[in-house]
Amino acid sequence: MKVNVLFFARSREIAGVSETVLELKAGATSQDLLESLLREYPLLKEITGSCVLALNQEYLAQDEAKALRDGDEVAVIPPISGG
């Protein structure tokens, strides 16, 4: 299945792109996606401790292994600073 991944702020600058598509095997979870992301963009390791993921515009808990589906949108969310 394919999952769209969005990068913002510092994660976008480190990844060097604002979005990508990851090919994951059926049954993959958000934790699998994170591992896959870190293989593709190893420099992201320096900030993953402070980032969370959002799945289809809802925050995931930091260690949450949520089942993904084809077409899902996952965003890498560095510490926010709006306002």
Partner: protein, 155 residues
């Protein structure tokens, strides 16, 4: 622009924010009070000279979270209307990055909801600012950001 209930307006926009637009939106014949908050780029931070702020948003999720925030405010206080707008891109000194307007029959509700809304926005809405100062740039982190705790608390 996302507009859920009739009495709620949220939007992430590129253009300069006009306070008047949001005050007009929350106008209501039954409203005796309108409170607003504008977050503005100021010229200094920790003794550094700030040139401008660059804002970036996960726009659809930001609008969704702002809408949820307005709905939560409507549930918590007897409000007539609420509007929240956040700007993205370059925001120069003296310009607003965020505007909140809230109306209610009595003053306490609008004032409390407005103060609460900016705290919530800073803690939960996926928007980022990069401070551009003389000699460098740095991504800021809100001291009270708590997006990491949100998912857990929703369970």
């Amino acid at each position: 622009m996302a507009s859920g209930a009739k009495q709620t307006l949220v939007e992430v926009v590129q253009e300069p924010l006009k306070l008047e637009r949001y005050v007009d939106f929350v106008q209501d014949d039954g409203a005796g009070a309108i409170a607003t908050f504008s977050g503005v780029t100021r010229d200094n931070f920790d003794g550094k000279r700030v040139v401008r702020l660059d804002y970036e948003a996960y726009a659809p999720m930001a609008e969704k979270k702002m809408l949820e925030l307005c709905q939560a405010a409507h549930e918590r206080w007897a409000l007539k209307a609420a509007a929240i707008a956040h700007r993205v891109g370059e925001v120069c000194i003296g310009e607003a990055s965020v505007v909140i307007a809230v109306s209610s029959a009595h003053r306490r509700e609008a004032l409390e909801a407005c103060a609460w809304a900016i705290d919530e926005l800073k803690a939960t809405v996926p928007i980022w600012k990069k401070e551009v100062y003389e000699g460098g740039k740095v991504w800021k982190e809100n001291a009270d950001a708590r997006q990491a705790m949100l998912a857990a608390s929703q369970k």
